[in-house]
Subunit: 467 residues, 2 copies
Amino acid sequence: MDLDRLLATLRDVVGAAHVVTDPSVTEGQVVDWSGRFRGATPAVVRPADTPQVAAVVAACNEARQTVVAQGGNTGLVGGGVPLHGELLVDLRRLDALAPVDRRAGQVTAQAGVTIGALQAHARAAGWAYGIDLGARDSATVGGTIATNAGGVHVVRYGPTRRQVVGIEAVLADGRIISRLEGLEKDNTGDDLAGLVCGSEGTLAIVTAARLRLVPLPPNAATALLAFDAVDDALDAVGELRRSLDSLQAVELFFADGLDLVCEQLALPSPFDAPHTAFVLVEVAVANDPVGLLASACARLGGVADTVVADDTRRRHLLWRYREGHPEAINRLGAPHKLDVTLPASAMGEFVATVGARVADVAPHARTWLFGHAADGNLHVNLTGLDPDDETADDAVLRFVADLRGSISAEHGIGTAKRRWLPLVRSPAEIETMRAIKRALDPRGILNPHVLFPSVAATSTPADAAGG
Amino acid sequence: MDLDRLLATLRDVVGAAHVVTDPSVTEGQVVDWSGRFRGATPAVVRPADTPQVAAVVAACNEARQTVVAQGGNTGLVGGGVPLHGELLVDLRRLDALAPVDRRAGQVTAQAGVTIGALQAHARAAGWAYGIDLGARDSATVGGTIATNAGGVHVVRYGPTRRQVVGIEAVLADGRIISRLEGLEKDNTGDDLAGLVCGSEGTLAIVTAARLRLVPLPPNAATALLAFDAVDDALDAVGELRRSLDSLQAVELFFADGLDLVCEQLALPSPFDAPHTAFVLVEVAVANDPVGLLASACARLGGVADTVVADDTRRRHLLWRYREGHPEAINRLGAPHKLDVTLPASAMGEFVATVGARVADVAPHARTWLFGHAADGNLHVNLTGLDPDDETADDAVLRFVADLRGSISAEHGIGTAKRRWLPLVRSPAEIETMRAIKRALDPRGILNPHVLFPSVAATSTPADAAGG
């Protein structure tokens, strides 16, 4: 089947108005959020419902046309844009939200619903959704499942995979699998929903999900703790996790980052004296969150100074010191952004020496660290580098791998991190993932150019038409 | 390779003392906990470490000898015993427990560690493990991962899959995959640990796991709520989940079960008047659990009577009414035990009519219901039936499937539930699971006779030797 015949079939399925081939119209969808990854597509197809998605995928499988699914296009690793002539399946018309199931504490959402819309819908019924992230008003249910998105509340509720009770998805040959009944316990074979979650669109296209909701967080209190030794800060993180089961966040940053934030954003310094490392901790409980937090902090060793806040204004100021990091760093020039996880036992060594490792290969670079301490997740921002020079990135990711960490905590592998995957996943693991990919997508049509370090390009009708 | 040659190879790997072929010695390991499933094995092999497990599996794969792994042998569905001549790999010598990682709040445990030993180990370091179940002193880490065991605290901490940060496992060809670094966030491809969890030994043999620990539960309070309408009880379950984020348990039982428990176990009735449905709810928080629980209960509709307890003695008595159900029912004769999940929206219809459905096909049977209400998980016990007559079981499971529920909430499919799997998993799902099975275990040596509704028996050296 050539491309023209395929497009005619797709027009029959979704209607001519929803098969868009004009590059000036699809322009915004072929480049990713970062602007770094830009491709081209034979067509953007906009199905209206799951049967249409299934028919589109079946036709593409028949024609051996590769496809990439797209939601809000907020990914950061070039995983959701057509870089090799894939057909783009835009899922944003699948935006239905069922009423909240109040007995189950769950909701069914189609793939194109934004996280912001989902949050508002849950809140209106007296519930919350456990995932929150900066891109909430663009990022979609489907995209956050495909990438297993995390965000600021992972310490409390886990990543997206833990919110998913079940999914509806289209397989590579167009068959639909559907488990949207909301069965919290269901030991009837493989957890296909969990497998699809985080597989970056390589195994199936998610069209809807049954999602777990959580209680609206009750009264919150926030503390900023200052330490003069990084080891004391890391011990404190572990002890806070052990002693508080109502942690909403445990964040970590350092003296140079705090100084930069205060200077760039014109904020008062939170402490009278300089300190080395800072832990921002937040709890949410019905009764006396300040008392609970204060007594937990009082049991910690090595705390040099503390500020505790329970009113919204002062809590927001404490969060500004942490959340101001990206903005303050951006003012130095667009940084290289790495997002890594370290084993708890290796975090101290990483923090102490990563700056020197970067300086070894990039003497003009500066290294900024901040992140989600309770998850071992650090954002590594590098400034003073050419945009395309990956020498320092490579040094950091190799150091992370030497310490047995993860080269991608939240963002995924996509296109950007493919070449480093073998540093952290063994040949047996990569071959197992490839075997699963082949089993579920024998023709290799589903987002075949992400995740794996090298895959022979699948020829597509678009390529054929172009050549 | 014939069986004698394989056994000689295995003796070289694990030592002759750890290849046991005498049926009088292996007797206890070829029959499952329920006594219902009994088989035979050419040998029980007891490896001492992961490389030995890998060498054993590699040799079996080479010889096309099927294997079943076994931990504490506490399964209830005939999933961990050699019913078709499988070689039995006993993992209980892999019983090492690493020190608790206090910064990470995690621990690495080998597959043969019992849940009880793991709990004690965590407690000694000031932490808890999120899974608890009656078989804790026999059930092992490996077995509970293979079956995704649940237990009483799923509402708070989730099932076993949610405790697993990473696994070490042996693939069908003897290769080892290992991710024991404890990376809470790690978006670098497929979640192989989550896939193996709950796959009943069909995809890999787990040899160790990195497990998340939780804070020791703080002060607890327990309430027993009486309702005169089942619908009010079900609404209350949803509202308790919405309003309390410190729920440790939400259990459900009914008037006939409570009466039986009080009569058989000689307990005083908890309420002065008779009521229809009962919800047992427990919270654990640092500050004022009784106040928190009482105010949440006061907001519920339809509560006919309430008992609240915060001292250990009275809390245990309230729990006796729920936990006494199996014992009281057993005194009527060994029941058929089914373990199902209903969608929240179908729970009311199921509770109202399942007894009549059973009576239609088995007029002398009685139907008892109790379970974990917050998870939609009901234990259905049937008394007054012949042990081998599955007519009533079939009627219940078909009713569950009609209501879009799960025929196995916690116990798994194993051998016992295979024939009902197509009621609840679609052909596309079952074929997807089979494709994954073939991809990871092309020769079909790993526990090939469980889970799937019908698989052609793989011939084994034992069969050949016997025939």
